[in-house]
């Protein structure tokens, strides 16, 4: 059995101390209370401050518990708020790439619900997709979320999955293989796996704590989304990733 990590034990002690203290505490007070060298205490405090678990009083420079610690129990982000936060950035993505943009969230073990849809900017007739449920295994939006979901390996290990086209992945085992590729390159794709004539690239959206809460995708014809060899274009993926980062930034502002 591996040993325990001392610095984490000490960090926990700092949090307990601050939780019990009726007033904010300074570095020296914390170091003395826990019999830690001042430098060690300082490093732990700086780290906890960096992740938002403790906050510093502007005036006195002393520390107390941070809002993010108190929010550990909060429900995941409201889907309508996610859309509102993402709106500007998904518009820019659609307009830069010329493709339709969607945001999806996992609402059942293998179901993605579309919570935001920006039309392809060609002014053609398109139908709002918000509220539509997609099979997570057959679309990029789903794979981008499943790749980081703690339940995926259990849910998928022996699963057989419905085929929507000849290209849909139909065994959990091969999907798990794809998901590890998704984790390696940071983005997911599907090429005519859900609908013929349609390809997508999706990137997970993380909240500011690093947890994947949704995914964002561009969808278009395989001709524009993929290169000549029918491989999704990495440059397009980079644009989607940029959008995902901007949305994460927006979610962090909300938490301030």
């Amino acid at each position: 059995m591996p040993g325990t990590v001392q610095s984490i034990e000490r960090a926990a002690a700092v949090l307990r101390l601050l939780a019990r203290s009726p007033r904010p505490l300074g570095v020296v007070e914390i170091a003395n209370a826990l019999s830690l060298p001042k430098g060690t205490a300082h490093g732990i405090i700086r780290t906890l401050h960096g992740v938002g678990f403790i906050a510093q009083d502007n005036r006195t420079g002393r520390y107390r518990l941070g809002k993010d610690l108190l929010r550990l129990h909060d429900p995941p982000i409201d889907h309508n708020e996610l859309r509102a936060r993402a709106l500007n950035w998904t518009d820019t993505l659609a307009s830069r790439t010329g493709e339709a943009v969607r945001i999806g969230v996992l609402t059942a073990p293998l179901e993605i619900t579309i919570v935001h849809h920006v039309f392809r900017p060609d002014d053609s007739v398109q139908v709002m997709d918000v509220g539509r449920v997609l099979p997570a295994h057959a679309c990029a939006l789903g794979k981008a979320v499943l790749a980081y979901h703690p339940d995926s390996s259990t849910v998928l290990r022996d699963a057989s999955l419905e085929a929507f086209t000849a290209r849909t992945v139909t065994t959990g085992r091969s999907l798990l293989g794809q998901l590890s590729t998704v984790r390696e390159r940071g983005w997911a794709s599907d090429v005519e796996e859900l609908n013929g004539g349609e390809a997508s690239i999706a990137v997970p959206i993380r909240d500011q704590g690093g947890a994947v809460v949704a995914s964002v995708a561009v969808t278009g014809s395989p001709k524009t989304v993929c290169d000549g060899g029918r491989n999704p274009r990495p440059r397009l993926a980079a644009r989607v990733a940029e959008t995902s980062r901007a949305i994460t930034g927006e979610l962090a502002i909300r938490r301030e």
Binding site: D78, N80, E81, A84, L87, N88, T92, S95, H117, V118
Partner: protein
């Protein structure tokens, strides 16, 4: 201009100040935003601290520039859009505001407005300035401020105390403040003061007399699209090349450049503007005649406006005052917990009723309450209030123009609310469309500034940037639509005659 890749827009709004960078294709490249305090000293009074707003501008502009990893040499121009009618007086010598700015929602001038109306009717100045006598506009506010303090009046007469709406305040500060700051306004903001002749676009002596406003305190009126001056701070050297009221900026940003084109912006309030071309159209159904925009030395373009005072701010009220939601978009989640409004209606006449009814003595109500009603029903009723208020304004617009609106272009923060947009399509019975940039106020300010400095060569070409991002089609059963509309109208009528004169409080 080889390396100038962006135009900066500053959107000084009612709840926040934003800075947005736009690229050549009219795409949003970065955005920084900061809210300012809403100060409610008494019922009906709503103030802002103009110094705080200026500090926010000083912060958000560099933030937006950094976010785009740009520097000021890449910025072709700055365009400013602002909450309209909000009025501030400040000392020319020190740059200090003499008091908080009085916002457009503030109703403290009610008695004064009543008194002026009693002398010659609500519409006594309408031919000259396009507006009915209402607490909404700046003119009565200036009179109210100066009437309270004879010393201030003397200083105003000597030009030591200056008047401005927010664009004037920002431009003055951006161009040196006490050290030679430029004291200017634009035709759209000036058209909301009740002090400008809407035909000649100049300050009018009769109107100045009626509101007892000394000319020396007033800014010079400029067009919307022209180089005002280079800034001396924040982005030194970059020209300020546009200023427009936020709603007119949105009209411009939606590229409603032809007569008959209209848009509705959903923010704190909601404002439907219809381009009426080269002549002001006088409404007989409760709409305002206002300047749409004026490009440099060109003839002005006029607009008809339906102003709704309370839409997004009702959602904020649910969030901040009742605490039933923790962020505005959660209202949609809450509303979707129920199927319908359960018979409950909310009429948010917080500042009286604006267009098309103009009842300043009305106050808000919630009606149809039974023990059946849950917070979900309240959330529905709040969203529906925005939709029905839009319907009333659209009906007025149709009646005035003799043409029926066939679709509505929308923008603003509330357009991220799908349920609301669907409800608006349902109650108007026309398709509702949102363009690719919902920050259309900023986009309009950027377009105007970019045109002034040649970043974009001409007006018409801007239309190519407009693309549909979303569209909602009507789905509501016509019988239900009519029943609900009738219920809404009955609810609105019950808000009338609520405020009695003694309620106005001191200082009027």
């Amino acid at each position: 201009m080889a390396n100038q890749s962006y135009v900066v827009a500053i959107d000084q709004g009612t709840t926040s100040t934003r800075c947005i960078l736009f690229d050549h294709a009219g795409r949003l490249a970065s955005v920084a935003q900061r809210e300012h305090r809403q100060i409610f000293p008494r019922p009906g009074w709503v103030e802002h601290d103009a110094a705080e707003i200026w500090r926010n501008v000083e912060r958000v502009v560099p933030q937006a520039i950094n976010q785009a990893r740009a520097d000021s040499s890449q910025i072709a121009a700055i365009g400013i859009a602002n909450q309209r009618e909000t009025s501030v007086l400040w000392e020319r010598r020190t740059g200090r505001p003499v008091a908080n700015a009085i916002t457009w929602q503030d109703t403290r001038t009610a008695s004064l407005v009543d008194q002026l109306s009693a002398e010659g009717g609500t519409d006594r100045f309408r031919d000259r300035c396009g507006l009915p006598l209402m607490t909404y506009f700046s003119g009565p506010r200036i009179r109210w401020m100066l009437a309270r303090d004879p010393v201030l009046r003397e200083q105003a007469e000597r030009g030591e105390v200056l008047f401005g709406t927010m664009e004037t305040w920002l431009i003055w500060n951006l161009t040196g403040g006490p050290e030679g700051g430029l004291h200017v306004t634009d035709v759209t903001n000036a058209s909301r003061t009740m002090l400008m002749d809407i035909h000649t676009l100049t300050w009018d002596d009769d109107l100045l007399d009626a509101f007892q406003v000394p000319r020396a305190m007033l800014p010079e009126i400029r067009s919307n699209v022209e180089v005002f001056a280079p800034t001396t701070t924040v982005l030194p050297g970059v020209p300020i090349a546009a200023a427009l009221g936020d709603q007119q900026a949105a009209l411009f940003g939606q590229t409603c450049f032809s007569p008959g084109e209209a848009k509705c912006t959903y923010g704190t309030g909601a404002f439907l503007l219809l381009n009426t071309g080269p002549d002001p159209v006088r409404s007989s159904h409760g709409l305002l005649s206002t300047v749409g925009y004026k490009v440099g030395g060109d003839d002005p373009v006029y607009a008809l406006e339906g102003s709704i005072a309370v839409t997004g701010s009702l959602v904020q009220w649910l969030r901040d005052r009742l605490g039933l939601i923790s962020s505005a978009p959660e209202i949609e989640t809450l509303a979707l917990e129920v199927e319908d409004n359960g018979g409950c209606y909310i009429v948010p006449a917080f500042s009286g009723l604006f267009a098309p009814r103009w009842h300043s003595e009305a106050r808000g109500l919630i009606i149809g309450l039974t023990s059946y009603i849950t917070k979900g029903h309240l959330a529905r009723a709040i969203l529906e209030a925005t939709a029905w208020q839009t319907r009333e304004v659209v009906d007025a617009m149709n009646a005035d123009s003799g043409l029926a609106l066939t679709g509505l272009k929308v923008d603003g923060g509330m357009t991220s609310d799908n349920l609301l947009m669907q409800t608006i399509a349902d109650v108007l019975n026309v398709p509702v469309e949102r363009p690719m940039v919902s920050e259309t106020v900023s986009l309009g300010a950027a377009y105007a500034a970019g045109l002034a400095v040649g970043f974009w060569p001409e007006l018409k070409g801007l239309r190519r940037h407009w693309h549909r991002a979303a569209r909602w089609l009507p789905e509501m059963d016509p019988g239900r639509r009519e029943r609900e509309y009738a219920n809404w109208q009955r609810a609105v009528e019950r808000t009338y005659d609520w405020l009695q004169h003694d309620d106005d409080g001191p200082g009027t």
